[in-house]
């Protein structure tokens, strides 16, 4: 991801370094949704994603002075987010398991409680169906290994190019291609029974 000369976030971070705290408010406004959603789709749990997003911005706040504008500012933000997410996952694996430590199902937490969802537009049966689909997709994502899941989240939800993902994950674009190949293969396999249940046609486009 080549650094653009007129990257407005780059200007903001320079202003923040020079002592203008309000510049960070703007950075927060630009990136909080992005960071939160990467963390949410990677970790599945909203509360945990909020924690991760807070951690990410504290890290940016603390280490702003060490920021070297070699790449786009967003790449740096994605890198920090990815590291915090991976560390969180590692900590969670090492932590003793308790009943309350288990990840919540969107159906259990009530997806309609999510600020981003649109409650009130679905009938109860539609809502139930929707929550069921959400659970299936979340489960499929969670079954992927961490690095494949992260690459998939960055590609499918953030729309980043292989090169950008490679820079964030610190690997080559070819390695990202390989990660995504495997991730997509597994995802297809996990979701295939669901296609059948839902009566989704598996025939290819007619050419």
């Amino acid at each position: 991801m080549e650094k653009q000369a007129d990257d407005p976030d780059d200007r903001l971070i320079r202003e923040f370094i020079s002592g203008q705290e309000e510049a960070f408010t703007e950075i927060l406004g630009h990136y909080k949704s992005l960071v939160l959603n990467v963390a949410y789709r990677f970790l599945r749990d909203r509360t945990e994603a909020e924690d991760v997003a807070q951690d990410v911005f504290l890290k940016i706040y603390r280490s702003a002075r060490t920021y070297e504008p070699k790449a786009k500012f967003s790449t740096w933000v994605y890198k920090i987010t990815s590291n915090v997410c991976l560390n969180r996952l590692r900590d969670e694996k090492n932590a003793p398991k308790s009943v309350s430590n288990g990840r919540q199902d969107p159906a259990d937490t009530g997806a309609s409680l999510f600020v981003g969802s649109s409650p009130g537009h679905f009938s109860p049966s539609e809502e139930l169906e929707r929550n069921e689909r959400l659970t299936v997709v979340h489960d499929a994502l969670q079954r992927l290994p961490a690095n494949q899941r992260l690459a998939l989240v960055l590609k499918r939800y953030q729309g980043l190019s292989y090169r950008e993902i490679a820079e964030i994950l610190g690997c080559s674009p070819a390695a990202v291609d390989s990660l995504l190949q495997r991730a997509n293969g597994k995802l297809r396999k996990f979701l295939e029974p669901y296609f059948a249940d839902r009566g989704v046609s598996r025939k290819g486009p007619q050419s």
Binding site: F24, T25, L28, K32, S33, L36, N37, Y40, R41, R46, A49, E50, A53, Q54, F57, L58, Y61, R62, F114, V115, G116, S117, R130, R133, L134, V136, V137, H138, A140, L141, K155, R156, Y157, S161, Y162, D177, L180, Q181, N184, L187, R188, L191, E192, Y194, F195, V200, S201, R202, K203, G204, P205, S207
Partner: protein
């Protein structure tokens, strides 16, 4: 054909993402025109991606910013040095360790001042090296005769004298 299918199927996600070279793109397109299995796989991949859209975007809570600034202010408040943090975290072991180090250092300097500084000038000046014994052994000469030090001096002196006498012969 199977080999070609395997190769093409691997490229399908990159093909859909437009991350393949133009040459590969036309190769995949040509193959898809004639291979229903690979077309099915392409469709399944697209469908799985469509399902991913079920995880909708969420928006941060209203208290996200105030919570962040609260934490950030904690960080910006007067910095506490690492040593101070260590003292605050482990007061008793730190005080004990500091006391131990000070005690050892103090004991060493006091002992040095009391023993070497006082004794060395008087004994060494009063007793210049004699009988081929190293001068510093003279400091043991004041030990009482029945002590270990006295016994050592006696043995050293005798054996030195005997050796010297043997050498003279």
């Amino acid at each position: 054909m199977i080999r070609t299918c395997r190769r093409i199927q691997k490229r399908i996600p990159a093909f859909l993402d437009a991350e393949v070279t133009p040459k590969m793109r036309s190769a995949v397109s040509r193959h898809l025109d004639v291979c229903p299995d690979c077309r099915r796989l392409l469709a399944a991949t697209s469908q799985s991606w469509e399902l991913l859209a079920e995880i909708e975007e969420i928006t941060p809570r209203n208290d996200f910013d105030p919570l962040f600034w609260e934490k950030a202010r904690e960080f910006s408040s007067p910095r506490v040095s690492r040593t101070d943090r260590l003292w605050a975290r482990f007061p008793i072991p730190a005080i004990a360790a500091a006391g131990f180090v000070l005690g050892i250092a103090g004991g060493f300097f006091l002992g040095k001042a009391a023993f070497f500084d006082k004794r060395a000038p008087t004994t060494q000046a009063a007793r210049p090296p004699t009988n081929g014994i190293f001068p510093y052994l003279d400091t043991f000469a004041d030990f009482p005769g029945d002590s270990v030090g006295g016994a050592y001096i006696a043995v050293a002196t005798q054996s030195g004298g005997a050796a010297r006498r043997g050498g003279d012969k």
